[in-house]
Point group: C2
Amino acid sequence: MKNYQKLVAHYQSIHNFEHLRAICSWDQATNMPSGGAESRAQAMAELAVHLHKLHTAEELEELINNASLEQLTEHQHASLREITRVWQHATALPSSLVKAKSLAGARCEHQWRLQRQQNNWPQFKHNFDEVVSLSQEEAQIRADLLGSTPYDAMLDIYEPGMTSVQLDALFGDLASWLPDMIQQAKTSCVDQHNAHFAIEDQTRLANELMAFLGFDFNHGRLDTSVHPFCGGVSQDTRITTRYESTDFLNAMMGVIHETGHACYEQNLPKDMQALPVGKARSMAIHESQSLFYEMQIGRSDAFIQFLSGKAQALFKQQSEHNTPNMLKAQLQQVQPSLIRVDADEVTYPAHIILRYEIEKALINQEIQCGDIPELWDAKMTQLLGISTKDNYKDGCMQDIHWTDGSFGYFPSYTLGAMYAAQFKAAMMQSVNIEQHLSEGDFSPIYAWLKNNVWQHASRYTTEELLIKSTGQPLNTEFFKTHLRKRYCNG
Amino acid sequence: MKNYQKLVAHYQSIHNFEHLRAICSWDQATNMPSGGAESRAQAMAELAVHLHKLHTAEELEELINNASLEQLTEHQHASLREITRVWQHATALPSSLVKAKSLAGARCEHQWRLQRQQNNWPQFKHNFDEVVSLSQEEAQIRADLLGSTPYDAMLDIYEPGMTSVQLDALFGDLASWLPDMIQQAKTSCVDQHNAHFAIEDQTRLANELMAFLGFDFNHGRLDTSVHPFCGGVSQDTRITTRYESTDFLNAMMGVIHETGHACYEQNLPKDMQALPVGKARSMAIHESQSLFYEMQIGRSDAFIQFLSGKAQALFKQQSEHNTPNMLKAQLQQVQPSLIRVDADEVTYPAHIILRYEIEKALINQEIQCGDIPELWDAKMTQLLGISTKDNYKDGCMQDIHWTDGSFGYFPSYTLGAMYAAQFKAAMMQSVNIEQHLSEGDFSPIYAWLKNNVWQHASRYTTEELLIKSTGQPLNTEFFKTHLRKRYCNG
C-alpha cells in the first residue's frame, strides 16, 4: 500500500489548500470590503495555480498505476477510483486551453452583465462564439479520453456516469408530460401588499429552522450575502441567505435549501474527508439534498403548518400574511414564467430540459450559436406557452452558466429534483414523514438521509447509491407522482 | 536586474500566501465555530510548511548574492536589504530546532493556562526550562550569524538594529526616574457603578471614532473577538475589539489602539506591498502608531472633551458617567498594579523594564529559570512598590509571551511608547494638535503620520526613520516630558 498511502498524503495536502480557498471565498462573499478585491484576487489566483500544480503533479500517474496493483480493501478501491477520476479531469486539458477558456469566459461574463441589460444578442454572441468553440475543443479532448460523445464527457464532470442516452429518456419522458401537468397545476398569482418582517426576526427564524433541520452550529454558521450559497468545509460549513423586509419566505426558502447542502457536508464521514472518496457524490446528488430540504420538506403541507406557527409567533403584527393558507398559496404557486431562477417546482424542469437540449446539440456541434434564439423561443413556446422572440435578455441571455463554458451543469438541477423525489418515496416506506413533521420532529428524516446518502460520500457510484437506498435506478415516476400529488391533488 | 526581479516575483508569491493566512487567522478569531478548529489547524499547518519552504527556497541565496551585484536604484537597494534580512531570519535555524521549539512552546503554553490558575510555578518551570534552553540555543545560533550577543540577536527579530547597550541606557534612565514619577502621579481609583452602555451604541461609537481617526472602511472592517487585534492585509485591514455593557471606554480604547495599527497598514505604499521593504518597519514602530493613537491622542484632554461630547449624545441615560471629568479620571488614572496588560501609561514601562532585565540575563545565560521569581519580586518592589512573593500567577506566570519563547519582544511596547512621544513632539512643531482636536479635525495629524512614518514602510532603518521625521535618534526625554506634563501638571 506504499503508493496508495502516498496518494492519501498528497490529497490530504490538496484538501488543506482547498480549505483555505473555501474560507477565503466565503469571506469574499460575506465580509470583504470592496477595496480588498484586487489583492484578494491575486492571492486566490496564486492559490489556484498552486492547487493546479498539486492536482497535476507528475508523480501522480505512476502512483495511481502502482497503487492499482496493491492489496487494497474495498473501501480503498473506491477511494482509488475517485482519485483516478479527479486526476483524469485535472490533467485532461492542456494548460493553454484552460487558460484560453478562462480568459474567454471572464471576458464573456464581464461584458454579459451590460449586454444582457441592453438585450444585445449580436455583441454577446461575438464573445460567446469563442467560449463555445473552446468548450467544443475541451469536450472533444475529454470525449477522446473517456470514449464518449463530447457532451457526455462534459456531463461526466458534474454527474459521473450519467449519459445523454439516459438523459434523453428521462427528460423526454418529462417533456412530453409536463405541458399538460402545468396547465392543470397553474394557480393565480399571490401578491403580499404592505407586509413587513423585521430582518432581526427573520434571522432568528432562520436560525430556528436550521436548528430544527439538524444544522450543527458547532460546525458551521449562517451569514448574509448577495447570492445565497453553501461554502466552507465539512467541519465548518458556512451557509448564507439574503433578507428582504417585505418577504420573509424568500430568505427562509434560501436557508432551508442551503441547510440541505450543509447537512450533507456536515455528515460526510470524518475519517476520509480529505480524500476524493470522502467528498459529496456529485453536483446532482448535492442538489438532491438541498431540493429534498426545500421542495420535499419545505413546501410540504405539514411543514407549511409548522412554519406558519413559528411565523405567527414571531411576526405578530403580520398574522394575516402568515396563515397556513397564505403561506401555501405562495410556496405552492405555479406560474409559467421566463426566468429559470424564479421558476416554481413544476415549471422549473421545463427550463432545464430546454437548456439541456440546446447545449447538447451545441457541444456535439449539431447546431451553432446563431441557432440558439430561435430554438429557445420554439422550446419555451412548446413547454411553457411563452414566446421569447426578440427578448434575448429574458431568453437565452438570462443565465450566467454558459458564459464561462459550464456546459453539462444544467441537468444537475432536474436530476437533483428527481433524485429527491425518489429518496422521499423510499424514505416513506419506513418513516412517516408527515406525522413526524406535524409533531415537530425532524430527526427520523435526518437519520434516513444520513444513513442512506450522506455517510456514503463517494464510496458508490450515483447509480449504486440510488439502488442501495431506493431499490432501483433513477425513475421519473417518483418525481411525476410527487408533482401530481402536491399540485393536482393526486 | 534579472536576479532582483526574480526575488520580487518570489516574495510576491510569499505575500499572496501570507494574505490567505491573514484572512484565515482573522476568521479563526472572529467567526470560526469551535468544531472547525481541528481541520483549520491542519490547513494552517500545511500553509505554514508551504510558507517555510518558500522562505527557505534553495535558489534564494544565489539570487540575493547575484542581485547585490546588479545595478539597483536606491529604493531597490533598500528592498534588497530587507529581503536579505527576512531571508537570514528565515534560514537561520535548523528545521529540527524550529520544530522542537514549536512543540515545547505549544506544550508549555497549553499547560500554562491551568498551571497559572493553580499558581503552580514548579510544574510550569518544568516545561519552561525546556523552552528557555531551546531559546538559548536559538539565540546563540542567531548571535553567531549576526556577530552579536545572544539577546541582541533575539531583539533583532522585533526591532532590527536595536541593541541591549542602547536599551540599557534608555531603560536605565527610565527606571531611575519612574518610581518617583509614579509616586507623584498616583491617583485614586475610579469605580463606575451601575453604568450601562448598549453594545449596539458602543459599536456605533466605535465606527464613528474609526472614521474620525481616518480608518478607511473601503479597505477594512471592525469585528469582535476575545482579544482585540489588528489583522488582515494592508488592502483589507481587519481590526477587532470586545465589548462589555458596563464599560464603554475599554472597547473604545481598544478600537483607537487598533485603528492606529490599521492606519499604518492601510497607508503602506501600494506599489511595494508585496515586498519586505513595503511592510511595516518593526514591531516597535507598529506599536508606536497604536500608542500614538491610544495614548498621545486618545487619552489627551482635548480628545477626552471630544469623546465626552459623542458619549453624551449616544448614551443619554448615562450622562453622569460621561462628563469630561469622569472620562479623564478613568483614562488618566495611575495605579501601580501587578498585571501588565491592565497597567496605565505611567506604570506600564516598569512592567517592561522588569521583563527586559530578566529575559536579557536569561537568554545571555547569566541567570536560570529558578532565579526568576525572586528577581521578579525584587524588581516589582523596587519599581512599583508591590511584592509578588509566592504569587507566581500575578507575577512571572502572568504573560503568554515567554511560553512560546518570544524573547526580545517585550521591549517593543515601551520603545513604541517612547517613539510615539518623540513623534508627537516633532509633529507639534508644525501641527497644533490640541486645536485641531478641539475643532474635531484629525486630518493634519493623520497627514503628518502618513508623510513621516507610514509611507516609508521599511525603506529606512528605524533610526534613519526617526532622525528623518524627528531630527534625532530615540531620546527618553520626550516620553518623560509627556508623562510629566499629563500626569504631574508639567
